[in-house]
């Protein structure tokens, strides 16, 4: 459990924030709330009045015409009000969804563009999940707050109207109604908090069952489940969670039943007092039956307005906390400079030089540095390889070069200038990169290569696919380059194999044509012939560019101008392939292991 942090914004500030959001995009949302509240309150009042008013005419034996006119009048009022209400109701949804989606979009922009180190920040991560939850559906804070406010307005209007109607009665009656209602509300709230206090227990069971369901019904586990006969186990785990969940619900409902008991006791008390008082009034002062009916119905209705106001403010308070979280995320401080940084020089010499000057890096909360005192210059137009075992720090080095991380110590320089002064997003534009993990979009092949939706140079896309060795496959797809990839969004999408995806990513890097090329182990999923094919192409791709190639497979690095051998966060050896082998150090040893099986007539069976 985290400590109760005071929310930076209160309920009114958050309401103002949402109003501003709506005002910018869908101002109708605000007007609809007000209109709906007025109409709803008016309709309720009309519904309350119709029975007693009509009854009065019957009781007084008023002329038939008068009776019928009264009925017609009320019916007309109801007709207009209920029709209007329904019409407004039908129309509220869309603007509200629009405002919420606007926030989802802002959140998306923030997360996908925030300074990379923020992504490793647990607080940021936490805010990210909670903010997404707060925008995830029609009943979440960022949308439901409109309903909450509509109901509050309705209740306040109703409260005032009923108060006016009941003003002829003894004020003590109103006090009794308000008091019993408030007591009921607060006691029930206390009881209902049980669910809130135990929400984690509940969500744990649900999460477990959901996970098992996804596992059992998904395709990715199907083979293992069959070969190892895991169905029994999977079901056991599911049923175990179900039993716990059932016990939980049983307990919860047996506690919640007290809210029903308290409600009925309090309404017994309240109605008893109201009946007694009104009967006394009727019998002593000769109040008519229709007046009795009016007052009694109004008294019960009054309870609902009071409850409504109390409930809605509690709800508003909770929603306000959620909205605070969204705002906190959107306003999360950025350690990097973006728009406020300097633009890259217009006459930036290309190819560029990148220099790491005494760079050390330690991950947040780590015990020791991942990289230590790295001095490294990637000369303009050079083909540089960085090799090393898993965990040597290769990926961290790439992140520093690409400007995803800032060094804990030392500087990263672009043509001699510290990259921290520049607008980081402009710096990113310099890179054509293929990382180990990539983001394939559920969009067409061409859009994936060009990384834009409109204004695609189709000819260039074709050329890049050709260069990456994917054009044959791409042309054979049902809609050619316009075929969507993935089936999450498009039902007619295609799934590419690992090797094909890697080629697609290569084509994408080519299309971008940045002056610096970074390839972080791009061949892991390829077979030997394809791998060798890519390496051949690699040489051609690096013309006129500064390039960085990262691998744990030494085989791939030989055509580079220079190879750095990274070990335990330090560059221990550097030189060409031949030089490194001759040194007989770590590189040579690793090469020996990898090539053992390939040497003609090499020793049998490894060790």
């Amino acid at each position: 459990m985290e400590e109760k942090k005071k929310s930076p914004y209160n309920l009114w500030q958050n309401t103002a924030f949402m109003l501003a959001q709506a005002w910018k995009t869908y101002p109708s949302v605000i007007f609809l709330c007000i209109a709906l509240a007025v109409v709803t309150a008016a309709q309720t009042v009309a519904e309350l009045l119709i029975a007693p008013m009509v009854l009065q005419k019957v009781e007084d034996s008023a002329p038939l015409k008068e009776l019928l006119l009264t009925i017609a009048g009320f019916s007309l009022a109801l007709l207009v009000l209920s029709g209007l209400k329904r019409y407004l109701d039908t129309n509220t949804l869309f603007g509200r969804v629009g405002v919420r989606v606007g926030l989802v979009r802002q959140i998306g922009m923030k997360i996908s563009r925030t300074s990379y180190p923020n992504l490793m920040d647990t607080r940021f991560h936490d805010l990210e999940n909670k903010a997404a939850d707060a925008c995830s559906g029609n009943t979440e804070a960022t949308e439901y707050i409109w309903t909450t406010w509509t109901v509050i307005l309705t209740n306040v209007l109703g409260f005032i109207a009923y108060m006016a109607m009941l003003s002829g009665l003894h004020p003590l009656l109103l006090c009794v109604i308000i008091a019993t209602t408030a007591v009921g509300y607060f006691v029930n709230k206390r009881i209902n908090e049980w669910g809130y206090r135990h929400r984690e227990e509940e969500s744990e069971y649900i999460k477990e069952m959901w996970y098992i369901r996804e596992t059992a019904t998904g395709r990715s586990h199907a083979k293992d489940i069959r070969i190892f006969g895991l169905a029994g186990w999977v079901n056991d785990v599911w049923y175990k969670s179900l039993r716990l969940y059932q016990a939980f619900i049983r307990k919860r409902e047996s506690i919640y039943i007290w809210t029903n008991v308290i409600d009925l006791l309090l309404s017994l008390l309240r109605n008893g007092i109201a009946y007694a008082y009104l009967l006394w009034l009727t019998l002593t002062s000769g109040m008519s039956a229709s007046e009795f009916l009016l007052y009694f119905t109004a008294a019960s209705g009054f309870t609902q307005w009071v409850t409504g106001i109390l409930e809605m403010f509690t709800q508003l308070h909770k929603q306000s906390l959620d909205i605070s979280i969204v705002r906190e995320l959107l306003e999360y401080p950025e350690p990097f400079r973006f728009e406020e940084g300097e633009p890259l020089p217009k006459d930036l010499p290309i190819p560029c030089e990148i220099r790491l000057e005494d760079v050390s890096y330690r991950y947040p909360k780590a015990e020791e540095d991942t990289l230590r005192h790295i001095d490294l210059t990637v000369r303009p137009g050079e083909k540089l390889a960085i090799v090393g075992l898993n965990g040597a720090g290769k990926t961290t080095l790439v992140r520093l070069v690409c400007g995803f991380l800032d060094p804990t110590q030392g500087r990263v320089l672009l043509n001699g200038e510290d990259i921290r002064r520049y607008n980081r997003r402009e710096y990113y534009k310099l890179f054509s990169a293929v990382f180990q993990e990539f983001s394939v979009l559920e969009a067409s092949v061409a859009q994936n290569v060009a990384q834009r939706v409109d204004g695609i140079d189709q000819e260039r896309v074709r050329r890049c696919l050709e260069q990456a060795g994917l054009s044959e496959k791409a042309e054979s797809l049902p809609k050619g380059l316009q075929t969507p990839i993935g089936r999450q969004v498009f039902e007619d999408g295609v799934e590419l194999s690992g090797g094909q995806t890697q080629r697609l990513m290569l084509a994408r890097a080519l299309y971008k044509d940045g002056p610096i090329l970074v390839l972080d182990e791009p061949t892991a999923a390829l077979d030997p012939i394809a791998e060798s094919d890519i390496y051949q192409k690699y040489s051609g791709m690096t013309q006129g560019k500064t390039s960085l190639f990262i691998s744990h497979r030494l085989a791939s690095t030989r055509f580079c101008d220079r190879i750095l051998f990274l070990e335990n966060g330090q560059i221990t050896e550097e030189g060409t392939h031949g030089q490194l082998l001759a040194q007989g150090g770590g590189y040579a040893k690793l090469f020996e292991v990898q090539s053992r099986y390939y040497k003609e007539g090499g020793e049998k069976n490894g060790e």
Binding site: L78, Y87, E208, T217, Y275, L590
Partner: protein, 619 residues
């Protein structure tokens, strides 16, 4: 899956609802009992209040006897309290049963998926069908689960209608005094006419409403596309694996936002301002007209002296409830009809047959592990495709030998293993176990002799020990031994709860994240724990660096002892120690032999593959 939009008849959809109810009845009958009593109490409670307060008003309007009034007031108060108590108790019971049922919903699909033929699971059409069912349920609530709420609504509507009739029959029977100018109201035709009019209005209102809702239904397919798009594009920013690319290629700005803005312009919003909103409003207006007619009829009769003032409130209340019940009934029926289409999708999935023939032979447990498997002229193509993935494959496994299967991506290696494990049946030819076609064995018996570490093996986010054993109860010592064989002991010692440590953080905060290499070791331990005579490794070292790769290979050879081992790889380094290497090319076994024999054939495929890889290492 084609969206054939043939609207179902009430009869068809009713049948499907019955079938869905039958499924529920078997899974959780309690949900029917509890909602039945709850709905009855809930629907009849208003009538108790209507009836009793009418008595109070009547007394007030006429005699005003204090003792009578007190009697009725006390009766009203306590009956209302009694009803509230019953309703409270039953609603809690129903809540409990409903929470249970909404989880059991998963069981319907889990059971089916777990028993489907693998070939069907692998089929895109089946996958799409299931996704459709899931999306229908999640995004719009349509499907099998919704039939439970229909049950509740139906019971409620029926009780409401019956109660309304019960309390308002006398309205039509009580007569206006004969001498009144309104005596014509006693005429049966007039009574029937009024009833007919009310009924007509009551029916027209839901029709208008359905007219309006029609826009939602016809929006459904667009909505589905919008939801699919939204759930992808709103979430990619959170995927850390995408973080680098998102920044380097400005994906959010250039692609995601564009798709997003397409989402925002939906046609339904326009319809809501126009026809849809108007139809809905009209349906409410008509209801208001009905209220007016009811009041007019009741009050005029009372005015003419047919009954007292109190009865007016009773009749108005009862008739209003009655017609509300009626429109609820119509609405529910409309909903059931609309849901029929979605039920059809669900049943289409649940009715997928198990086509794979299952024999009854058992594989005798042989302590000598003397099993012999032979592919005899096996050809295969995936269902619904016309491309042969395997052509006339002939191969025999020698017991206790080490076989390597090599070839380029897409040469049929993995398919070969799928056939061996009978995840698929051959299209032509046959596979024999000890001379008998494997179809003649019981599948669970047959699969017992294979252990496979697939390239895309999966572990579950459950305790380590259970993962290795594949069950909740297991032999701890044996699991530890297998983990030791797989080289996991060192890591095991660092785990906070040993074998009971949860893998990954999906379910438990304190779960441990394991690297690809570690996961592989666990998967190998799982394969060993099964202790099957055949052990198959499908490209097991893709995630490992050369040091780890060398370690795994040398160790594995030791572990498998007298078992028959099959290695699949595109990295030829793993083949050298095998007794036999089968080279796959375009679905055929083009070469067979030891490494030395194959590499000597410089015209062969093996030599070509070998050279492509070896060129970087020689010299």
């Amino acid at each position: 899956m084609e969206n054939e939009k043939t609207k179902l008849t009430y009869r068809q959809s009713w049948k499907m609802n019955l079938r869905a109810w039958k499924i529920w009845w078997k899974l959780c009958p309690g949900v029917f009992y509890s909602t039945l009593v709850f709905s009855i109490v809930k629907a009849s409670t208003p009538y108790v209040t209507i009836f009793l307060s009418a008595q109070i008003i009547n007394e007030l309007a006429e005699n005003r006897r204090p003792e009578e009034l007190t009697k009725w007031v006390i009766l009203t108060l306590f009956c209302a309290a009694g009803c509230a108590l019953l309703q409270g108790i039953f609603s809690r019971w129903a809540n409990y049963e409903k929470a249970f049922a909404s989880q059991m919903d998963s069981q319907i699909y889990m059971k089916k998926m777990l028993s489907l033929d693998y070939a069907d699971i692998d089929r895109q059409a089946v996958f799409d069908l299931y996704s459709q069912i899931k999306q229908n349920a999640q995004w719009t609530g349509w499907g099998v689960h919704r039939t439970l709420s229909y049950f509740e609504e139906l019971v409620m509507a029926v009780v409401q209608i019956m109660g309304g009739i019960g309390l308002s029959v006398s309205l039509f029977l009580l007569k206006v005094p004969q001498n009144s100018s309104l005596a014509f109201m006693n005429h049966p035709l007039c009574v029937v006419g009024i009833m007919g009019l009310m009924l007509l209005i009551a029916v027209v209102s839901p029709i208008c409403n359905n007219q309006g809702n029609q826009y939602w239904i016809s929006y459904a397919s667009e909505a589905k596309q919008v939801n699919r798009s939204f759930s992808f594009y709103a979430n990619i920013c959170k995927d850390r694996k995408r973080a680098a690319d998102l920044r380097m290629y400005q994906q959010q700005e250039n692609v995601c936002n564009i798709y997003f803005s397409r989402i925002e312009h939906s046609t339904i919003a326009k319809n809501a301002k126009g026809p849809m909103g108007l139809w809905n409003a009209l349906s409410q207006c008509i209801t208001a007209v009905l209220t007016g007619v009811v009041y007019a009829f009741v009050c005029v009769k009372a005015w003419a002296g047919a009954f007292g003032v109190g009865s007016v409130t009773q009749y108005v209340g009862a008739i209003t409830q009655l017609f509300q019940g009626l429109s609820k009934l119509l609405e529910t029926m409309g909903g059931m009809r609309a849901n029929g289409e979605f039920l059809q999708t669900s049943f289409q999935f649940l009715d997928i047959p198990n086509r794979m023939y299952q024999g009854s032979l058992t594989t005798e447990k042989r302590s000598d592990r003397n099993y012999e498997v032979e592919f005899r002229d096996v050809s295969f193509r995936y269902p619904d495709t016309d491309q042969w993935v395997l052509h006339h494959v002939n191969i025999k496994f020698r017991v206790g030998s080490r076989l390597a299967v090599v070839g380029m991506n897409g040469s049929g290696k993995t398919t070969f293993i799928k056939l061996l494990c009978r995840l698929y049946d051959p299209t032509e030819g046959e596979i024999l176990l000890n001379g008998i076609n494997i179809r003649k064995y019981r599948y669970d018996e047959y699969i017992r002799i294979f252990s496979v570490v697939f390239q895309d093996f999966k572990l579950l986010a459950l305790p380590l020990g259970e993962n290795v054993a594949g069950s909740a109860e297991y032999d701890r010592e044996q699991v530890k031994k297998c983990l030791a064989y797989a080289g996991f002991t060192q890591r095991l010692e660092t785990l906070p709860k040993g074998l009971d440590t949860y893998l990954y953080k999906d379910l438990k905060e304190e779960g441990v994240d394991i690297s690809g290499g570690e996961a592989q070791k666990i998967a190998i331990a799982r394969a060993l724990y099964k202790d099957a005579p055949f052990i198959i490794l499908d490209e097991p070292t893709a995630a490992l660096d050369p040091m780890a790769e060398a370690e795994i290979y040398s160790r594995f050879n030791e572990i498998v002892t007298d078992k028959t081992a099959i290695y699949i790889s595109h990295r030829l380094s793993s083949c050298k120690f095998c007794d036999e290497i089968a080279v796959f090319h375009e679905g055929q076994i083009v070469q067979k032999g030891t490494h030395e024999e194959l590499v000597a054939d410089t015209a062969g495929k093996y030599y070509e593959l070998w050279s492509a890889q070896a060129q970087y290492y020689t010299k």
